[in-house]
């Protein structure tokens, strides 16, 4: 079962959704993550995704399996884009079908949260100002430098999204 997949071309949500159809299910919940035109006060003109695909696929399949086991939903799947994306494009899709809506919503939320925290996927934002940066990395690197200079690395904490 390819419960988690990457795509270098636009995601076809109808086809993804059709794979979750099940006569025993009365509820379907989906989440779509879209490319936004700003982030942390900066105007974004587009972005690119890169992944360590072999490990991300494995971990992605594990997350979907966890959601199915934990919430008792019938089917679940996730798809993530790679490569260059424009504003408004669909970057990530999660879909869950279940007999009732409550577990479908909860499983859907679980999958997107875990995907964001655990999968080795990176996002580079291209800004209207012409420069670019890796989300969660640049800030982290900037924070590390003064801490090192002050010799205070041991107590240094990073508050960004990060795999556990």
């Amino acid at each position: 079962m390819d419960a988690f997949r990457f795509s270098r071309t636009p995601l076809a949500t109808d086809a993804l959704r059709a794979r979750l159809a099940d006569p025993a299910c009365g509820g379907y919940a989906a989440f779509e993550g879209w490319v936004r035109d700003s982030n942390e006060g900066r105007r974004v003109r587009g972005l690119e995704y890169e992944a360590f695909e072999a490990l991300a696929m494995r971990e992605g399949e594990r997350i979907v399996a966890e959601a199915i086991a934990r919430f008792g939903v019938s089917r679940a799947a996730c798809a993530h884009r790679l490569g260059e994306l424009a504003i408004g494009e669909l970057a990530v899709w999660v879909g869950v079908s279940a007999p009732h809506r409550d577990e479908a919503f909860r499983a859907c939320r679980y999958i997107i949260d875990e995907v964001k925290h655990r999968l080795p996927i990176w996002k580079k934002e291209h800004y209207l100002s012409g420069d670019s940066g890796w989300v969660n990395c640049e800030r982290c690197a900037a924070a590390a430098a003064p801490a090192e200079a002050a010799g205070a690395q041991a107590g240094h904490h990073h508050a960004h999204d990060h795999a556990r």
């Binding site: 992944a51 490990l55 991300a56 996927i121 990395c137």
Partner: protein
């Protein structure tokens, strides 16, 4: 055999050897048989230790491991039972040579020494079902460094038919000759990367720093800062942490190891994981999927 019929002291059955290398190594995330110590795989080391003492030495494998190059170098006996753990290997060997006694060794005992094996052979008691060590940790029989006499075959088959799966419990419940270990760490088994590291250091503190070939893949910010996607290199780094420190001296990495994670051979690992020959290492910058 024929001596039994004449009523004299029974002659000991010929001793065959079996190294169990059919495990799934789930907690190690790497095949335990191919972990190296001082440049030799654990399977080679176990076979070398065993071979001088037996008529014939075999490797016990799962059916799907038949063509694995590390195992294919040795005579093999493939499991005929699935999901039965180490007992499956023993049952298949006993079916192949029912008249033999089997000196059985697990292939995750890197600290097993010649003296421990020699004492087991000297103390062998063919009139019992098996001769085994008593664990230095819990006093229970150690079934995977033991001599299993031919008469254990029917008893073991009956135990399995009753639903039994644990060779240790089987030996507890039968006539087993139990010995004390001459070296209390000799039968320490290695199930996790941390135990592997500890065994390597115990065996040869200097061997852990022998140069090894590894590949490193770079992603995202680290890829840009290293100026490459991948490289093969020879390193004396003992752990993933030491390898990152070595690379950080070569490239202008801005990310401290505290904010990175490590993958070795496509699984997440601790920074303290010892590196082995041929490992594929990836340092994972802070992620930003979704």
């Amino acid at each position: 055999m024929s001596a039994i019929a004449t009523g004299t002291v029974p002659a000991a059955a010929p001793l065959y050897g079996l190294v169990l290398a059919g495990g799934r190594s789930t907690r190690m995330h790497r095949d335990k048989a191919v972990l190296t110590y001082g440049g030799r795989t654990q399977l080679e080391r176990a076979m070398a230790l065993l071979t001088p003492h037996v008529v014939r030495a075999y490797v016990s494998v799962r059916k799907d491991q038949h063509d694995d190059p590390v195992r294919a170098r040795f005579p093999q006996i493939a499991d005929t039972h699935e999901n039965l753990g180490p007992i499956a290997g023993l049952l298949a060997a006993q079916a192949r040579h029912p008249q033999a006694a089997w000196l059985v060794l697990a292939c995750d005992l890197p600290l097993l020494d010649e003296a421990t094996l020699a004492q087991l052979l000297r103390a062998r008691t063919p009139s019992r079902v098996a001769t085994a060590y008593r664990s230095s940790y819990d006093g229970l029989p150690e079934p995977l460094c033991a001599i299993w006499e031919p008469r254990s075959r029917e008893l073991l088959a009956a135990y399995v038919a009753r639903g039994g799966q644990c060779p240790r419990k089987f030996l507890q419940g039968t006539a087993t000759e139990l010995l004390d270990e001459p070296n209390p760490r000799a039968l320490d088994n290695v199930n996790t990367p941390e135990e592997y590291g500890s065994a390597m250091v115990a065996l040869a503190p200097e061997a852990a720093t022998l140069p090894k070939r590894v590949t490193v893949q770079y992603y995202a910010l680290l890829r840009e800062q290293a100026g490459r996607r991948e490289e093969a290199l020879v390193t004396t780094a003992r752990t993933a942490a030491e390898l990152y420190a070595e690379l950080a001296r070569r490239y202008p990495f801005s990310l401290a190891p505290e904010v990175l994670r490590v993958a070795i051979n496509t699984e997440f690992h601790e920074w303290s994981t010892p590196l082995a020959e041929g490992d594929a290492v990836v340092f994972i910058p802070p992620v930003a999927g979704g």
